[in-house]
Amino acid sequence: MAEADQQLPLLITNPVAHVHGQPMMEMPQDLYIPPDALEVVLATFQGPLDLLLYLIRKHNLDVLDIPMAQLTQQYMGYIELMENNRLELAAEYLLMAAVLIEIKSRMLLPRPPKENGEESSEDPRAELMRKLLEYEQMKLAAHRMNEIPQAGRDFELVQVLIERTVIERLPSVSVEDLRNAWLVLLTRAKVHAHHKVRREELSVREQMTKVLRQLRDHDFVPFESLFEAEASIPMLVVTFIAILELAKETLVEITQTESLGIIYVRTSRSITVEEE
């Protein structure tokens, strides 16, 4: 096969490149592209293997029997072009140039005498060939993968609105949660060591709250009305203790304006309001 890139007329008069110091007046045959697009083309090579493959396929060279002189020359031509276009030339390109030249020179040397007749493994081009083919295989695979329709690019995914109910989910609390919270408090503060807690206390406290609640909206409440008529005797006692407890804690004030008159209970808050 003749050197293919010789006779193409040039669009520009200045040398396109310098190859081995010689001005290269013509662009390689396959680069019949406007010079300003050259950079783009050169930049698309994925590396020396890609460039070599391009050259091999473009010039219909035999991968199994690569004409090293021809390939090396063309490769160097492109390297020069890249340098002239100030493309950032990855070190791999220069390394490959060295490899090509090395293979070429080794092929010029007489082959060392064979011992077992295994010639193929001694072909200095074998490793390069293997790499080229493996790379080409992956390059094709990448191309085909890119042709597979991609979600979002080539087809849309269905995503229909789902309206989460707007009702705010409130945490639910169980008695167990309260128990656990209290247990934590116990361990931490050792509250139980200082307070002798009696079971009744809670009902007294509950009743204290009830009384306070009843008093909240009134200035004075008759003492008797704090007791529910249908309440059990223990409940009446608890209520009574609760009122005394409230008085002791100065949360309520108990007043009686005349002896045997009505006993009024009022909260300390209403006392405060009155005083202001």
């Binding site: 609105l161 789902i162 109910t165 128990r179 079971r199 949360l251």
Partner: protein, 208 residues
């Protein structure tokens, strides 16, 4: 022939709309409906009639597009989703009545209250009426207003008065709502404190 068979498969309403349109523009109604379907299904936002008009090269009348959309909505009458018209256009959504089923897929874990909230609630429940200062004394840390607001927001606690001490601190107590939510009749049904102490390993020597 094939075309006819195909459109016959589709609903009879289809024929009506096709007739209307065939007069104005030779629009492939079947294709158009599919395009609308695909567009509406894959769009995150409702699509307006203006946007839907962009989907066909031939200029279409709003009324015609709306007819197609109604037919599309009709097609989904018996399915798990529905086509709705909302302020900004048309959109598909999962049927709200299926919500309960769909929730099973992503069981939202019920949110939990922070320890601060739970401890504060426990203190108010067991020690009521208490002031914020009381709570802080027992917990050993400041009680943030947020904690109290959370509990008040649930109507689980309320202010039932003030203590007659400097600053007139508010007294907090638990509400009937809390008892209802805990499924209790009285506070007395809360776990007894002294029993709880025995649940703790450390309490063994503390009681002595």
């Amino acid at each position: 022939m094939t075309d006819q068979a195909e459109s016959q498969v589709l609903a009879t309403t289809d024929t009506v709309s096709t007739d209307i349109v065939e007069l104005d523009h030779p629009v492939d109604t079947v294709l158009l409906k599919r395009v609308y379907e695909a567009a509406l299904m894959s769009s995150q936002e409702p699509l307006s009639i203006t946007e839907l008009k962009r989907l066909s090269d031939a200029p279409l009348e709003t009324a015609f597009i709306e007819t197609l959309l109604s037919e599309l909505a009709e097609k989904y009458a018996d399915s798990g989703i529905e086509l709705n018209r909302v302020a900004s256009g048309w959109r598909f959504r999962a049927r709200p009545e299926l919500q309960d089923h769909l929730d099973k897929l992503n069981p939202q874990k019920p949110p939990r209250y922070s320890r601060a909230v739970m401890e504060t609630l426990a203190i108010i429940a067991y020690r009521q009426p208490v002031t914020r200062g009381d709570i802080e004394e027992i917990r050993g840390v400041n009680v943030s207003s947020q904690v109290l607001k959370t509990l008040e927001g649930r109507s689980w606690i309320e202010v039932i008065g003030t203590r007659d001490t400097p600053g007139k601190p508010e007294l907090f107590a638990t509400t009937q709502q809390l008892l209802d939510d805990l499924n209790l009749r009285t506070l007395g049904e809360l776990p007894a404190l002294e029993e709880m102490g025995s649940l703790l390993d450390q309490s063994g020597n503390a009681e002595a």
